[in-house]
Symmetry: C2
Subunit: 277 residues, 2 copies
């Protein structure tokens, strides 16, 4: 624990999936020892050790539990599947509450058989359907716009403007937006939409990483900050200028990094965070 309380790292959060080869137990130990301030917990990591064990582990650590990842996937061509998605999201709210995460990140979903506008309508209906349950558990819901390359099945919400629109339409303290540089860096409206999001107190979380040049896999080839095309620090500055004061979350899916020594990788994450995030 020699590195604990490095002031430079006081806002650094790492997602459990970033160091996927580690169990949640290992991630918690290693992150804490390295001076990382927070963790966002993916469902698979929590379930692999059991939710009760995860709860105890996190409660006994010094790490802030920043979010639980991930709910959403509301749109479907048939009603029965949409209802199942709502039930599943309630379950995820329970899990978030159990492990002590204040925020459930929503990857909102898309149904390729229907128009994106119809999917967005179903997303709004889904969020509104789970909102009373989120309220009674005091769990925030973060709409995460995804890169347009995921518009077929993962998210009909593809930019900040759409996420802002939806959060403002639902207009509830527990509903806001999760900003991820990977999904949004290409958008020339990003700075102004971040400002808008901040004005409505809707910036709930901030995720960072980089876009590899070239990118060899649409899902699992994200880079460390500073390695690619994304001006990650500039986007962080916009988010903080808009009033966000929370953790900077490193969320990297990478077959490359997952194949490496995870202790060394964690040190690389910390260096990249200090220099480029």
């Amino acid at each position: 624990m020699t590195e604990k309380n490095q002031p430079e790292l006081s806002k650094l959060c790492v997602h459990s999936i970033t160091t996927k080869p580690w169990s949640l137990t290992e991630s918690v130990e290693k992150f804490q020892a390295a001076g990382v301030a927070g963790i966002s917990v993916w469902q698979d990591a929590a379930k692999a050790i059991g939710l009760k064990e995860a709860k105890t582990l996190l409660a006994n650590s010094d790490l802030d539990v920043v979010s639980y990842v991930r709910g959403g996937f509301f749109p479907h061509a048939n009603l029965e599947h949409r209802q199942k998605a709502i039930d599943n999201n309630k379950q995820l709210i329970d899990e978030a509450a159990e492990i002590g995460a204040p925020l459930l990140v929503l990857v909102c979903g898309a149904e390729p058989k229907q128009l994106l506008s119809e999917s967005r309508k179903q997303i709004q209906e889904g969020i509104e359907a789970i909102l009373p349950y989120a309220e009674s558990n005091n769990i925030k819901l973060g709409i995460e716009p995804l890169h347009p390359m995921y518009a077929d099945t993962r998210s009909a919400i593809v930019n900040m403007a759409q996420a802002n629109d939806m959060a403002e339409k639902i207009a509830h303290d527990l509903v806001g937006v999760v900003i991820d540089v990977y999904h949004l860096w290409w958008d020339d409206q990003l700075e102004s939409e971040i400002q808008r999001c901040g004005k409505h107190d809707n910036i709930f979380a901030f995720h960072t990483c980089d876009w590899n040049v070239p990118t060899t896999d649409m899902l699992r080839d994200r880079g460390l900050m500073g390695e690619g095309a994304i001006p990650a620090r500039q986007i962080r500055e916009w988010v903080e200028a808009a009033g966000f004061n929370g953790c900077i979350e490193v969320e990297i899916f990478s077959n490359h990094f997952w194949s490496k020594d995870q202790d060394e990788y964690l040190m690389q994450i910390i260096e990249a965070y200090k220099n480029y995030a």
Copy 2:
């Protein structure tokens, strides 16, 4: 030539790269025999048989030569490379003129070392630099916005709004926009930006295909119309409602289809065109 002059196919154009295993000579013969109305010629296909041979081949066919593909790639971190890109585009204008193509499609480029806004500035400078040369050769220049997943190196212009902005700023009869459903289907401003483009007489070309679900390769896994998530016919209707009266160009990069019998594939293209384009 039994299928020639099928009225249903009077607007169907196929890109030479769509049937990449065929030489340009084979493509021209086969397209014409199948009743296809037009062809867009990729540089590699023309150069493989020689530009003079390509010119004669196309002049002697009944196919409309719709466009020459592709110029652009203007942004670079250093000036010398930007000048080389300008020279290269002039060469491409010569080649388009030689084979009788009225339009050079521009994949505008991006430089990951700099902001997208800087790359867009360099794109505009590049187009303005080649415009007198395009004018003297009477070759139109079509700005093609590309999907944001290509924003790192292929195009800093990632939606119709940016393409419209640039075409309207340059404000020249020879500069317009190439609309491709693959790149733009996710954009909720697409219909209104198509209308805007039409009002300025800036719709120079229309490309169609589909987005496979899932997509397994970021470059070479496009689908036939009707196979995936894109409402291709709806977008065509928007384009035609905005005044476009030109060919519907099928542009598909696909390792899958390139590995198949190209005669059968061409029949599939025609069926997909009739039913879904």
